[in-house]
Symmetry: C2
């Protein structure tokens, strides 16, 4: 097990009817004006918007809206938010939504305390030194953005989708009320669920066998997700399934499963998936259910061990030689993705064969990456071919 | 799943050779003088004392020692520490040790900021309002005291051993260097391991089936402990096993496994065990390996379900009717305790039949407790009889 430090300063308020519990801490912190950062109609449909604004009115806190935040959120929206915060009257940010709202809020929180352009944090030109306080209300679980200091933002001008993290960007408080997620479209429940599973897979398949304890925690998370996603397809309003989904979503990418690992995880599949989202607008989760099996098939023969352990810990696969068992695990994962109607090929996403080279070109820009195998330019192309 | 809030403000520094990493944060916090709180020769033998004092000398921070803290730490020692802190020159407490040192440090930290007697916090007469900062160095894993706000202190005058918790009592930073534990006597590794397992059992056997996810996390922790305790009996210097033991010990009683549960856990076995430690000086872990099977045997016929799930999640027991499977799980747990030479009867602890009534009398003082079953005076007696 490798040395680590762990600091998880976000306070969680979890459960039904808990938005109202934000009032006391906002008042105690002396907050007078907030910016609400959110996407579109889901924020209203879930009931979250009304609950948040009612709470703010009761507290006598003014608010202004930055809406229309897109999935794979854009730096242009962040810049708009930063300019408005710099114009005054806002001393905290409240994202209402999932990863996109939270990631945008974090970017604004950092950008508002910086004299240059906020993209500098993503391009590596500058490091976050300070940020405004964030009090988040989660309505879509998947990213763990509610409990981490990570922000992923896209810049179409440079064709980049870049992740950046800093300790200043942890929300002060995150409210997780699973009832807000009962109104999500089925597709979003499925893709979010794939993303949560992928966050675990990036760790347990990273090639570091030094922390069986943390691997076991990860396998338990995947088993839970494989149980609750079908339950939620059947009955989207099942509160306990939503709650377990929200808990798993919070834990999977909080950094907790990375404790003691040599790297923070492999994350090649996320990087290869980012290019599919950026160039072809695929949902993040859909890009992952396509890439993960392809990446796995490309690597397992030379690196069967983590797949063998995944097979034991998640799928109950104990028989056969290592390479056979590894393949059986990958097939079981693909079967599960198909069972919940998540795509497993680029073709299903509507891509053509000639798109493969474009994807590879984009995904090569930030090479090298990967931990189980450090990928090179050829690897990237071959994995996309397998994904086709 | 039940609503909860979660706040885990302690920063962890985990791994080999990490005591030196306390220097920068101590200096940044402006600490000038500390009190070192520890037990006896283990603190020196482990190398922890030298590493801490070397670090303090480099940092130019003065220190004074409060040593001879006993297992099941005493309020008299706490009072001694409080008086010395009130005399001046100390602005932070550094426990070096396990639960006893940390629990004593927390009590001193709270008592030093209070005008009355520190026992008031334990008797329920007063609530902690403030506390001095604690920077801990863990040398014995088991209590999770390094990451929680709980302090358990004994008062022989009143024959009480009482647990008290407050958010002010979380250590600012805890350093967990598993190498300090390689010099522990085997008995302590075993009893600490039983305590860690018991912390999980108190949760997964509490009768709340609303959070399968958290139960699965708990089963994975127990499986890890059942793997690493025998590894450490075989080779006490196995770093990876020590590290997994320390991680599991940190997680088991941090409160994390209580998230979403109706209660924080059952904890009857801990309370029944406390009387054995208080009256007959039994090691905390030894009291638990005796009480847990007895408590389980007393309850399982009317409440087989949590034992059935424990059997599936930990011992691979899938066949038979519920009551049979529950009993098989309890037997498997007892077998494991015997395999690692942990006692499973009061007799093995040297108690006589006439001691049972005395134990029951003491354990009844703080009734009612329990969650799977709320115990009454008769239940307590019957469980001790089964434990004999």
């Amino acid at each position: 097990m490798h040395n680590f430090t762990w600091n998880s300063p976000t306070k969680l308020i979890f459960g039904q009817d808990t938005v109202k519990d934000l009032e006391a801490p906002l008042k105690a912190a002396g907050v007078k004006g907030v910016m609400l950062v959110y996407g579109g109609k889901g924020t209203f449909k879930s009931g979250a918007y009304d609950q948040v604004t009612d709470m703010l009115k009761r507290a006598g806190i003014s608010f202004s809206d930055l809406n229309d935040v897109k999935p794979n959120p854009l730096v242009s929206k962040v810049r708009e938010g930063v300019a408005r915060v710099k114009a005054g009257g806002i001393d905290a940010i409240i994202p209402i939504g999932g990863g996109s709202a939270f990631d945008t809020a974090k970017a604004i929180a950092a950008g508002a305390c910086y004299s240059g352009d906020v993209w500098d944090f993503y391009s590596g030109k500058a490091k976050v030194q300070d940020a405004m306080p964030i009090y988040g209300v989660l309505t879509v679980s998947a990213s763990s953005s509610e409990v981490n200091g990570i922000s992923v933002v896209s810049n179409p001008e440079t064709q980049d989708k870049i992740s950046m993290g800093d300790v200043h960007l942890y929300p002060k408080i995150s409210v997780i009320d699973p009832t807000f997620q009962t109104s999500l479209p089925q597709k979003q429940t499925v893709y979010g669920g794939v993303d949560i599973i992928a966050h675990v897979l990036e760790r347990v398949l990273d090639g570091d066998d030094g922390s069986e304890l943390m691997d076991e925690q990860g396998y338990a998370l995947i088993r839970t997700m494989m149980r609750v996603i079908p339950e939620l397809i059947e009955d989207p309003k099942n509160y306990d399934s939503r709650a377990e989904y929200a808990m798993a979503g919070m834990m999977a990418h909080s950094g907790f499963l990375s404790l003691g690992r040599e790297t923070r995880g492999d994350f090649s599949s996320h990087k290869l998936g980012h290019s599919i989202s950026l160039l072809y607008g695929a949902a993040h989760g859909a890009s992952l259910s396509v890439v993960f099996p392809a990446w796995s098939r490309y690597l397992y023969e030379d690196n069967p061990e983590p797949f063998v352990r995944l097979g034991e810990g998640v799928f109950g696969i104990y028989d056969g030689d290592d390479v056979d068992r590894a393949l059986e695990s990958i097939e079981a994962l693909e079967d599960f993705f198909r069972e919940i109607n998540a795509p497993t090929t680029l073709r299903e996403l509507g891509l053509k064969e000639e798109d493969i080279e474009k994807l590879a070109e984009n995904a090569r820009k930030i090479l090298p990456y990967g931990s189980l195998k450090v990928l090179d330019a050829d690897d990237v192309l071959e994995i996309y071919k397998l994904a086709y």
